[in-house]
Each structure stands twice: as C-alpha cells, then as structure tokens.
C-alpha cells in the first residue's frame, strides 16, 4: 500500500483556490519532492496532509489513515519540520527534545533512547545544555529534524527544510534524509532549490494550485525529447537572447546567469549554424553547445505551458 495516497484534493480560501484537484501517490521509503514557486500551493497541501487543515473536497490517506476522518491519527503517524526550525529558543537542546518527546507521548527509557538517537543523528553530542537560540543554522536544523522524528514516524513532511543553512550543512542534511529513506521512512519534501530536487526519487511540479507534472527527474526531462536545449555563452547575453527569439527554429529562451538557454523547435538544428547567424548580427558568441536540460528548464517549461493552458 502507498504511504500517501491523494485523490482530487482541493482547498479553497474563500474564492481563491489554493489547491486544485491534486492527485498523486507516494510509495513507502520514497523521497518525494514537491516543487513549485512561492504561493503555488505546496504548504497548503502539506498542511492538509498533516491533518492541520481540512480539505474543501477530495480525499487523502496518510499512513493508511484518512485525513478527513482521523486528523489526530495522522498527526501521531507523521513527523513535520518546517522551514522555521520551530524550536523553543529559550530552552536547551535537551529541554526541546524532552518537550517534543512528551507531547508525542514518549517518556522514561523510550525517551532516553530516542534522545540518544537524535543527539547522535544530529551530531549534537556535547551541546545538550546549549540553548536552541545559540545554535548555528545547521545544528538548529538537525535538532528540529530530530525533534520531528522522536516518535519514529513512518512518514516525514519537510516544508522547505534547508532555508538559511550553509551548503555544507545542507549536504549533511540530505545525507540524513537519504539514510532515513533507506531505513524505510517515507519523506515528502517541498523545496524551491532545484538542485536539491535531484535528491528526490520522484518529483511533483505544482503550479497555481495544480499538479503540472509528476515523475522522476529523468522522466520530467523527457518534455524536452525532440526539443534540444542549447546553452549559449556570450558577453551580451540579453541581446543574444533577444536575437535568438527572432529565429524560427528557436522555440523559446531563458536567461541563466550569464548564459542563455535556448529550446529548439526541432531536433536537427545545427548549433554552429546558429552561432554563425548570431555573429552575422554582430553579436559575440563565446560558446554554444547542446546541454542536458536542467530541472530549472523543466520547471520553467512546465510552468509556461501550464500558464498557456489557462
């Protein structure tokens, strides 16, 4: 049975449809990524799946429990960690662990055992009596994760878990997530860092409350089969982008830092020929080559097409 099964889940706030008939399944042990821009409906979906917000219509089961019928049962089975690393600043590492342990019904030897596990997992040994507010970002993040999994949930929801954390800590964090997943824990994570999305086994792209695409990152990239992506390095990227857009065999362009990505409308366009045509227009081209489409390309493409559909 799937760890999470979502069917036509919808949530309205007045006239505004925050989540619009979303359906997807997450298998046990899977790391499932939820991608989308701010306000796309990611957090609303998570809050519904956690039993915190009642859906307007549709249904979902989390760990086999119906989120409408038994939201409290859902809460007992899941762990949740938000981008804010919700810890009590004035309390020490130990006191935070105790508090979250007790509200999840842990006590005595079980709590001690889980405390050791969390301190070990988060490399927080020796910091037991440090106040949460004095911890650096990475440590706070790992403590927050630890507090969220004290009760050994089989499903963990991570809502943008790596905001404001340095790259090294982010990497450590993702290693923890990989370990948890390998041990059979299902993880649903929202992020807008597209590089992080590569850690996910499968991804859902959500745009304007709708599920715009779903699949592994390789599957998602297939939207570009037959439409090669070129990366053009140039000293005047904006001008190059404008020129490329006038070419018939270029479907669309987007700016990636100092380089331009151009999606070609046919698979047989010659990159060298394109470069020559740009140079004819007096534009300098440092390099032009076919690249593997990034998730960012996929994301922009999906969003654009979802927007075009209405």
């Amino acid at each position: 049975m799937d760890a999470i099964a979502v069917r036509d889940l919808t949530r309205k706030f007045g006239d505004f449809i925050a989540v619009d008939r979303i359906s997807f399944d997450v298998k046990q042990g899977e790391i499932f990524g939820f991608l989308g821009s701010n306000g796309a409906g990611k957090s609303t979906t998570i809050r519904m799946l956690c039993g915190l917000l009642a859906p307007t219509s549709g249904s979902a089961t989390v760990g086999g429990v119906d989120i409408r019928r038994d939201p409290e049962g859902v809460k007992r089975r899941i762990g949740y960690m938000s981008q804010r690393f919700s810890l009590y600043e004035q309390l020490t590492v130990n006191q935070n662990i105790t508090f979250y342990g007790v509200i999840y019904g842990l006590g005595g030897a079980a709590l001690d055992e889980r405390r050791r596990y969390v301190l070990d997992l988060g490399r927080l040994g020796g910091l037991e009596n440090v106040r949460a507010r004095d911890l650096a970002g990475g440590w706070r993040q790992r403590l927050a994760l630890g507090c969220a999994i004290l009760h050994e949930p089989s499903i963990i929801f991570l809502d943008e878990p790596t905001g404001g954390v340095d790259p090294l800590s982010r990497r450590q964090f993702w290693r923890l997530i990989d370990d948890l997943s390998a041990a059979g824990t299902t993880i649903l994570v929202t992020t807008h860092y597209l590089d992080e999305a590569e850690h996910c086994h499968r991804l859902a792209l959500i745009h304007a409350g709708r599920l715009a695409a779903i699949g592994t990152s390789a599957e998602l990239r297939e939207v570009f089969s037959g439409r090669p992506v070129l990366e053009v390095q140039a000293s005047q990227p904006v001008e190059v982008m404008r020129a490329l857009e006038t070419f018939e065999d270029v479907e669309k362009t987007s700016l990636f830092g100092m380089s331009v990505h151009a999606v070609l409308s046919a698979p047989d366009v010659d990159p060298a020929g394109l470069a020559d045509r740009l140079r004819l227009l007096g534009l300098e081209v440092t390099s032009i080559e076919r690249v593997h489409p990034s998730l960012e390309d996929v994301f922009l493409d999906v969003v654009e097409r979802a927007g075009a559909q209405g």
């Binding site: 915190l52 409290e72 899941i78 949740y80 690393f85 919700s86 009590y88 509200i103 999840y104």
Partner: protein, 371 residues
C-alpha cells in the same frame, strides 16, 4: 495529562529564561504600583497660599496658622494688595489666597459675624472643589475655637449635619484608588503574559509545530494557563501586600475570600489574553489589542477612577462586560469593609461567568484555526 504538564513545565522554563517576560511579570507590577500609587492621588496637599491680612490682630493670625498647620496649605506669599494676589495667581505662584478683612478681630470680639474671603484658582475644577472643602473645614473649626465662651445657643442652627465617613474616615483617595490599581495591574500582567506567550509561539512557528503533534486544545490551553495563573496570582498577592505596606491598605476581610475573588478574576484575565492571542498575529498587535480590550476598560469602565453610576446609560451597559467592575466590588468589600460573601457573591458569580465564557471563546477559536 502528561502533555498538559509538558506544556506547563516548558512554559515555566521559558519564562524563567526569558528576561523580557520576567520583567513584564515582576517589574511592571511594582512599577505601576509605585507610579500610580503615588501619582494618582486626588488628595491635594501643599497648596501654595497667599495671605492678605488687613486685620493684623491675634485673631487673624490664629486663622492664618489654622490654614498653615492644617498641612493642606503652604504659606507661599504675603500679599499687600489685591493686585498682588492677582499677579501671584496669574504667575501660578499661588493656587489660593486668604483675604482677612480689617475688622475681623473687632467683629469676633463683639460676637458679630465676620466674613473672610478665600480665592481659589479654578483652572482645575476638581482641585478647586477639594481646596474649597479644605478651606471651609478649616474656617469652621477655627471659628469654633475663636469664641467658645461666646457661643450663643440661640444662634446655633436647629439642624446640623455630623458627617461620618465609613471605611475611609479621612477620605483618603488612596484607599479608594489602590483596589482599582490592584485590579488594573493584575489585568495587565495576566493578559499580556498569556497573549504574548501564545503569539510568540505563532511568530516562531512553534505553535504550528505543536499543532502538528497530537496535543488537544484543552491540554494546550490548560498547560499554557496554569503557569501564568500561578505567576499572576503571586504577583497580585505581592501587589496587595505592597499596597498594605506602602499605602496603609487595610485588610478587614478574609484572605481566603480575597484569593477566591482574585483567582476568578485572573482566570478571566488569562482567558482574555488567550482570546487576544487567537486574533493577533504579532506581538505588537497583541499588545495593542490588549490595551483596547483589557487595559482601557479596566481603567475607565470599572469604577476604578470614574464612578459607574455617573456614566451615561449606554456606557453603564458596557461596564457589565468589564470583569474588573465585579472584582472591584468584591475587593473593596473584602479589604475595606470586611464584609462577608453576602455582600459580593453576585459579583463572584459574574466573574465566574466571564471567566468561563472567555475561556470557552478562546478554546473554540484555537480549535477552529483548523478550518
């Protein structure tokens, strides 16, 4: 049960470690008590007085020393003319003037009626009335001493009033104000501490985290309320004790009754704080709301300073939802009158009703955030 204790214990630890909250809970009550206790005093003392003694006899000097020795008036100037008095009054050097006519001594000796003039700066009507009262009392008592041997029985009015003020014979406004102050301070500490503590959890995101856990609304509310109940009760008792030490507040009734009234009042105040926190999303907003729903009504509509009976009808209706109104009746009855529960049980019932309703309202709102 355990979750409730966990919420409560965590709250206490947090308060203990958070100097700002501790400051609000301990320093503010002390500060308000001293500030209001000493500044909010309707008694007027040391009124700068100018004297124009046109008589210059022992009798007139007796009258002057009567004013000065009363403790209410300070002799600030000796005026030689009416122009002098006018100038002193205009420059605010004096607030009152006593003008004694040339023939005071002679008239007193002759057993005739003599009139002295008291001029009072009326720019503050309340003060002026009070000063006038003092002056009348002094003149009456001096005129009694001036001619005891000559008092003519036939001239005494057939009916006299012998006023006696109960519970506060010296009519010290402090005794009237301090109970109001106790109610006010208790309201502030209870409302602000709970409201800020919940809103802070909202701001930090820990509120959401706790809501993600299987913690019932009741456990959360009770866990949140108990520590602040204990702290605000201790702080309120501290304020009562301090009022006794500093302002001679008497304790004529039973401590048990006082604690009961205080507890009911505080639970209502804590509920108000919780309610505020369900509406406000930031600490500033919570504070402003607390001012509007708790402080101002307690200050203005409770009978703390302005008597409810002299308010316009619709404002009087408003006072029925101000818990301090009931608490003040009970507090004054217990502390000043030593009256038994017979005198104030309806007010205790009203306090209990308020506490229950506001707690229920806060619980419903907290539970409903999951819409």
């Amino acid at each position: 049960m355990y979750t409730m204790l966990a919420v409560g214990g965590k709250e206490l630890r947090q308060v203990w470690r958070d100097p700002r909250t501790l400051l609000i809970l301990l320093f503010i009550p002390a500060f308000f008590l001293l500030l209001y206790g000493y500044a909010l005093n309707f008694d007027i003392r040391h009124i700068a007085l100018a004297v124009q003694d046109r008589d210059g006899t022992p009798k007139s000097r007796e009258l002057i020393s009567g004013f000065v020795n009363s403790g209410y008036f300070d002799l600030a100037a000796v005026a030689r003319s009416e122009a002098d008095i006018e100038r002193l009054m205009n420059t605010n050097e004096i607030r009152a003037a006593l003008v004694i006519p040339e023939d005071l001594g002679r008239r007193v000796r002759a057993g005739e009626r003599a009139t002295v003039q008291v001029l009072i700066n009326g720019d503050n009507a309340n003060t002026a009335t009070t000063v006038m009262g003092y002056a009348l009392r002094i003149v009456t008592s001096i005129s009694g001493q001036l001619q005891p041997e000559q008092r003519i029985v036939e001239r005494a009015p057939p009916l006299t009033i012998e006023p006696r003020v109960w519970f506060n014979p010296e009519l010290r406004s402090t005794l009237f104000l301090v109970p109001g102050l106790i109610a006010y301070i208790a309201m502030i500490t209870a409302v602000v501490s709970t409201a800020l503590s919940v809103v802070r959890e909202k701001e930090r995101g820990t509120m959401e985290q706790v809501r993600m856990a299987p913690v019932g609304t009741a456990a959360f509310i009770i866990g949140k309320t108990i520590p602040y109940f204990g702290i605000s009760l201790a702080s309120a008792v501290g304020v009562v004790l301090a009022s006794m030490a500093l302002f001679d507040l008497p304790m004529r009734g039973s401590w048990m009754q006082l604690l009961l009234a205080l507890s009911l009042y505080l639970v209502g105040a804590l509920g108000t704080g919780l309610f505020v926190s369900t509406v406000a999303d930031s600490q500033q907003m919570a504070f402003q709301m607390a001012i509007v729903v708790a402080f101002l009504p307690t200050l203005i509509l409770s009978g703390f300073i302005f008597p409810i009976s002299s308010m316009p009808g619709f404002v009087q209706l408003l006072t029925y939802v101000v818990p301090a109104r009931y608490f003040l009746v009970a507090l004054r009855s217990i502390v000043l009158k030593g009256a038994g529960p017979a005198a104030f049980w309806p007010d205790l019932v009203a306090l209990a009703v308020y506490a229950t309703s506001v707690m229920a309202l806060a619980s419903v709102r907290l539970a409903r955030e999951r819409r």
